[in-house]
């Protein structure tokens, strides 16, 4: 148990940003705080949802301070609603900026989605029509976030369950154009590629071929569940409550082969296993990273 968190501001002020290594990391969960501090497992880095650390104090900050002393950290927002039609929530942006100053994370990412509308926050990553109006709007929000945080952000491709009639731009092209206009980087979630591909009937490896891989700075893998829609077609749900599926591991291999070594995060957000269960997934990601990036280097050397 970390003993003391008072007076942390002074200790943190000169904290160096520890870069996220091109190795496997996992989402940090309260159920694993004690284990991590007692055993200091050999894992490359951790990622947290900043919204869970927006209380004024208490054990969440005490643990995160202690773990941040030992490992590089990435913040992965779930509440900024950069796809929301309204204005960005400036108070929320300020809370984010405070956390960024305090913890000096190496990366900050958010989703190509919306979650807040006039009635309030809906706590889900809702889908967007991909067209010029949305692109201009989201680009404005990304620029505003990057200004407020004083850093580049990454934007993640979403898992979606339906499409919009007035979508006129492919998702890969939309993300590439968003990055071109704002200078943001991309977070490639290969589970989302598989989920959306299955749901909409596109070929996930083909999507990866079209993805602007050079802009990717982080990759996510996660588990999903399989359901059916009204017509009996497969409907995959991005549930983050299960081991990563084999076709998703295959997409990770494909992505790393093209992109070279990158940080890979295992997300597991509900029905969370004991630490060893999560570590098994991270170890598998690490093995793939090692094998694929060795191959990538060999190709690069002979090219």
């Amino acid at each position: 148990m970390p003993g003391h968190a008072g007076g942390c501001a002074a200790a943190v002020r000169n904290r160096p940003v520890a870069p996220i290594p091109a190795s496997a990391g996992v989402g940090l969960k309260p159920a694993h705080y004690q284990h991590i501090l007692e055993h200091r497992p050999a894992i490359g880095w951790f990622e947290v949802h900043p919204e869970n650390y927006m209380g004024a104090g208490g054990p969440p900050h005490r643990y995160l301070e202690a773990i941040r002393e030992l490992y590089p950290l990435s913040l992965h927002g779930v509440g900024l609603s950069i796809g929301g039609a309204g204005r960005l929530d400036r108070a929320h942006l300020e809370r984010l900026a405070t956390l960024v100053r305090r913890y000096q994370p190496a990366l900050f990412s958010e989703h190509l989605a919306w979650s807040t509308h006039t009635r309030g926050f809906m706590n889900d990553l809702l889908p967007l029509p991909y067209n010029e109006e949305t692109l201009a709007h989201v680009a404005g929000h990304v620029a505003e976030v990057q200004d407020a945080l004083g850093r580049r952000m990454l934007v993640e491709n979403p898992a979606t369950y339906l499409r919009f009639e007035d979508s006129s731009i492919a998702e890969t092209q939309f993300l590439e154009e968003l990055a071109t206009r704002t200078g943001c980087g991309l977070l490639l979630d290969v589970n989302n590629v598989y989920v959306s591909g299955t749901n909409h009937g596109f070929d996930p490896p083909g999507y990866l071929d079209r993805f602007p891989t050079r802009l990717v700075e982080e990759i996510h893998v996660a588990g999903h569940v399989r359901r059916e829609d009204d017509l009996g077609q497969p409907l995959l749900i991005d549930s983050h409550d299960a081991p990563v599926a084999d076709p998703v591991w295959a997409l990770l291999e494909q992505a790393l082969q093209v992109a070279g070594p990158l940080p890979v995060l295992v997300e597991w957000d509900s029905s969370i296993p004991a630490w060893d269960g999560l570590m098994r997934e991270a170890t598998r990601a690490q093995r793939i990273l090692h094998a694929r990036t060795t191959e990538h280097r060999r190709h690069a050397a002979t090219a």
Partner: protein, 254 residues
């Protein structure tokens, strides 16, 4: 008005009302109206908000069971969406909702037990501060103390219940087998505070909760004591102060 705003308005309205028709312009894989697919968003929004509130009321879950709690919370979230994405602040008004919730009326103490859960949750996430030690208090001459004001710990909260709410809360929160509580045993005042890593929950002498609220409202020690004695003739200043100091609820004196 831009189209994106309208699209999201229609989408949000339909997500919140499971009986409503789907918004126009949505497609499934084969171009069909994607009813089951839209249902994924309805379910994600609904169940994740219920999860968020229910997680902050573990004692109520033990008292009434998961099914009843979730049914109550479902009605609550329908009219009370989170105002911010910080869900650790979501559900503050749930105890008041419980107090007025018709199917829960046979458990008249339920809302006060929920208030203890919420105060516990608030204390868990509250700012850090160092409690005042008895030796620091001793440096102030007794005759000066009466006119002074107390600085309270950011995590300190108190509530007074006409029911033995703390006894009910305690056995449901901590005991492997819930112990019976005699509802005729009278009301209880409860103090919640997190002086360091762990949240503590203490019994306060009668009138103690009102005393803490008076101190929080900037009353001097003597004014807070007089008000408390008027409201609660049995109010015992010495025992109450001892309890506040022992729990770490006082951080300074001005």
């Amino acid at each position: 008005m831009p189209r994106l705003h309208d699209t999201q308005s229609h989408f949000a309205t339909a997500v919140h009302d499971p009986e409503s028709a789907l918004p126009p312009g949505l497609l499934g894989r084969a171009g069909e109206v994607p009813t089951a697919r839209f249902g994924v968003y309805r379910n994600n929004v609904g169940s994740s908000l219920v999860d968020a509130v229910a997680a902050n009321y573990p004692t109520i879950q033990r008292l009434v069971g998961t099914e009843f709690l979730r049914a109550m919370v479902q009605v609550y979230v329908r009219d009370t969406l989170p105002e911010t994405p910080v869900l650790i602040h979501y559900g503050a008004t749930f105890p008041g909702f419980v107090a007025a919730f018709e199917p829960a009326q046979r458990l008249p103490y339920l809302a006060d037990v929920a208030r203890i859960d919420w105060a516990w949750h608030q204390a868990y996430h509250a700012a850090e501060a160092n409690p005042l030690g008895p030796e620091q208090l001793a440096t102030i001459p007794a005759d000066e103390l009466a006119g002074r004001r107390m600085l309270l710990h950011p995590s300190a909260g108190a509530l007074s219940s006409p029911w033995p709410a703390l006894s009910i809360w305690h056995t449901n929160r901590h005991d492997a087998t819930v112990k019976p509580v005699d509802l005729r045993s009278g009301g209880q005042d409860t103090l919640i505070c997190r002086p360091a890593h762990e949240v503590g929950v203490w019994h306060l002498p009668a009138g103690g909760a009102g005393f803490l609220h008076a101190l929080a409202g900037q009353a001097t020690l003597s004014d807070a004591a007089r008000q408390s004695a008027e409201l609660t003739p049995a109010f015992d200043l010495t025992r109450t102060l001892q309890a506040l100091l022992a729990s770490g609820a006082i951080t300074g004196i001005r």
